[in-house]
């Protein structure tokens, strides 16, 4: 896998909940948690997805059906060939020192889960919090129901009934973390950014914007305020920001 497009056979599909599946591909690439790939459904379209794990030469992406592309993707069966290029973008880079707090909201659970596992495999500890609207939205529910991560839901259908930012505020108040690493809806991210700022710790936040080229040329993913390209300088941005 590299910047050039190539098709790979889909090795396995795991359904977490209706409309929420993980897809597995063989891979020969180094991927860092927070990076994304472009996934091509030939004849349909190509869209960005965070890598949710790379383990034993298998790359995993975990996708929620939200529109035409992701619904078509849900129909794909093992053996079909899908296009992949990547990995792209700046990964999570939690500071050394105190363990980081990892926060995944909604589909943002995917890259955080990879980061969590990645740290674990290196013997590094971290605190992992996931938040979704309702239990059915939770990726890797099997894993987290077992206590691997703290779970909050808006409706209390799983774990604590709590809004994600509230829970983060509580954790930050009670313990010192090195970095706040998070992915999720942008409104959530901006709240988290402020929480981290107020505690004086850096945050590493992953933003999801529409992407076209994924290689820093088309301008589709640029931030309005500073022109940074989320496909190159992001999707994970460290605050404070680079040039």
């Amino acid at each position: 896998m590299d910047d050039r497009m190539r098709t790979w056979p889909l090795l396995e599909v795991v359904e977490h909940n209706p409309g929420l599946k993980s897809f597995y591909f063989e891979t020969d690439s180094e991927v860092q948690p927070g990076q994304f790939i472009m996934l091509w459904l030939p004849g349909v379209d190509e869209k960005p997805f965070s890598v949710s794990d790379v383990d034993d030469g298998r790359l995993e992406v975990t996708v929620k059906a939200v529109g035409p592309f992701t619904r078509k993707l849900m129909e794909c069966r093992p053996g079909e060939r899908l296009g992949l290029r990547g990995p792209f973008g700046r990964p999570f880079a939690p500071a050394e020192g105190p363990p980081p707090l990892l926060v995944g909201g909604g589909c943002g659970v995917a890259p955080l889960r990879f980061l969590h596992r990645h740290l674990e495999r290196r013997g590094l500890s971290s605190t992992f919090l996931v938040g979704v609207r309702t239990a059915a939205d939770l990726m890797f529910r099997e894993e987290y129901a077992g206590g691997l991560a703290m779970v909050v839901t808006d409706d209390g259908s799983l774990g604590e009934r709590r809004l994600l930012p509230d829970k983060v505020g509580e954790l930050l108040a009670n313990q010192t973390y090195g970095t706040l690493c998070a992915a999720g809806p942008e409104v959530v991210l901006s709240t988290l950014k402020k929480l981290a700022e107020s505690r004086g710790i850096p945050s590493e936040l992953s933003y999801e914007r529409h992407m076209k080229c994924a290689v820093g040329l088309c301008g589709e993913c640029c931030l309005e305020d500073n022109g940074l390209r989320l496909c190159v300088e992001g999707p994970v941005l460290r605050h404070p920001l680079p040039r």
Partner: protein, 306 residues
Amino acid sequence: MANLATKVCGVTMDPPLVLASGILGVSAASMARVVRCGAGAVTMKSCSLEPRAGHKNPCVLPFEHGMLNAVGLSNPGVAGASKVIAEFRTLSRAPLIASIFAGSVQEFGRVAERIAEARPDIIEVNVSCPNVHSEFGAPFGGDFDATAAITRAVKDAAGAIPVAVKLTLQCPSIGRMAKVCEDSGADAITAINTVGPGMLLDLATRRPILSNGVGGLSGGAIFPLALRAVFEVRRHTGLPIIATGGIATGDQAAQMILAGASVVGIGTGVYTRGVTVFEEVARELGDWVDSTPERSLEALTGAAHG
């Protein structure tokens, strides 16, 4: 280091390195950042009278020797583009080149008129995009008469704003085409747009990878073609040339200057070398100018013809 500031059609570009059209040229913020990364001027993505959605993904496809793209000229229309110009002025003092395209000579005039109201420093006329055949017919850039008529229409509408015509290699003679543009009132030539188009197939699905099937070829692969095109344009006209095509190093920029370019455009180089390609090429170009007896870009422009 040598002073690289260069005046083209009365517009000073320092360094003489321009962001090429279609690359990071959709928002004011991203163009301003490109200026912070060392560009001396920016070109906006080409805009049409009405907004256009462009092609589906994949629309940009790197390969070993360059890039294929068929973005499909997605743009917010001339009204949206005008807003971007206004916003860019609040963020940066670097010159801005607006790029326009249209489906008929008349429409080119209308788009030019509208964009002129937003007062870009230069209007670049994209007669050469290879990705919109079906909707707009064969590219105008292959036809001497059509290109002449478009040039005149845009000049009429542009008032005092200088007009650069962006040429393609897909024409019988790019040198003669440049002369036609000069005779029709053009103030500068931009050469070249992407080459081809080209295609890449996926063996497993047996389909073209680009959603549009074919796309324009850019990047290192086309550098020798672009260099020769600039050389030909210089032989046929006295117009200043914005040389674009496969440039990513100071050595390549210097070759373009010797062939006759006044300023150099960089597109795919932003991918191959990163967005700071502008700073880096400026440094390399400066070192080269310093190493020459002339020590002046102007004196070196076109020196390969001497």
